[in-house]
């Protein structure tokens, strides 16, 4: 299980803009650095990050080797309905991490 920290409000008013922050543990190895043996360490990064609200995509980000380890992403969304916000990170070497949080919209 991947190590994830998500900060999203548990409740929001309808139409309110909410800030959602997601942090994940990942080495984000660039694929350009030589290891101690002189050989290039193969690239190992998160390629895609998506967030969905009740299944509807609200945020998508393509990541690159220039992004530091343990990427932290912050974005905003308009609260429309109660439900779950789901996050998915996918990357090299078959890396997949998923996390979800519940939100009540009144």
């Amino acid at each position: 299980m991947a190590n994830v920290l998500v900060n999203a409000p548990k409740t929001a008013k309808k139409g309110q803009v909410v800030e959602i922050k997601a942090l994940i543990m990942h080495v984000m190895e660039t694929g350009f650095r030589p290891g101690t043996n002189g050989r290039i360490i193969p690239r190992n990064i998160i390629e895609d990050f998506t967030a969905t609200w009740n299944g509807r995509e609200i945020f998508r980000m393509k990541m690159s080797p220039a992004i530091a380890a343990n990427p932290f992403v912050s974005f905003s969304a308009i609260a429309t309905e109660s439900g779950t916000i789901a996050f998915r990170w996918g990357g090299d070497e078959g890396f997949v991490a998923e996390h979800q949080v519940a939100i009540t919209v009144t």
């Binding site: 190590n3 920290l5 942090l23 543990m25 530091a68 343990n70």
Partner: protein
Amino acid sequence: MRAFASAAVLLAVFTGSLALAQSDGRRSGYQDMGPALQKMQDDDTANPAMLFVQAGATAWSEKAGAAGKSCADCHGDPAVSMKGVAARYPAFSREAGRPVDLEGRINLCRTNHQQAPALASESDGLLALSAYVALQSRGQPIAPPNDVQLAVLRAQGAEIYKRRQGQLNLSCANCHDDNPAKKLAGATIPQGHPTGYPIYRLEWQALGSLKRRLRNCVVGMRAEAWPYDATEYLALESYLMERARGMAMDAPALRP
């Protein structure tokens, strides 16, 4: 309700920074950071060190070694048993007959009580556990033990701290006592109080111990870094903790 909650958070942040302020002019590295980084450290879902804390919390209750015991089996709830513990190390271990730092203490527990292999210096496993233990001392004053058996070590640490070394012929004191708050290659020189270790250093993109930080400085003055098990680190750590006595812990901290 929401306004009340944010007021409470503001108050907590405010009292937190008050606790870090010292009337004698000593400053934690936290106070030398910009407001953006301070906010990042204060927010437990934005501080990447908390990822390691999360891993440490899992490791705390995992059984390990031939004894089949977890940390929790002996120590129970760390919020109670580990409160203020990180603020007291390095300490003299009667069990081992030598001084140990927090990482060393964790490894003593592993080898003696869990009968598991010791965790390597700077390994994710050791850093995660020490971050989790250090978190329990957040806000606690640094209180090194008044143990005569540490006196020699502290004196040795003070000597190393003031001794010029390396090709640049610098001592720790040249920067951290004589020129703090000035700039070194664009970075603010901190007073060098170990309030927040292990720290997540943005430059490292990883969590690191005080040893790693000391090695960094030693290499920076172009001296040869001691091996990880050298007593020089323990000596310096003991001296630095004594020098920071009474300052509030803010571990696991974020530093540039």
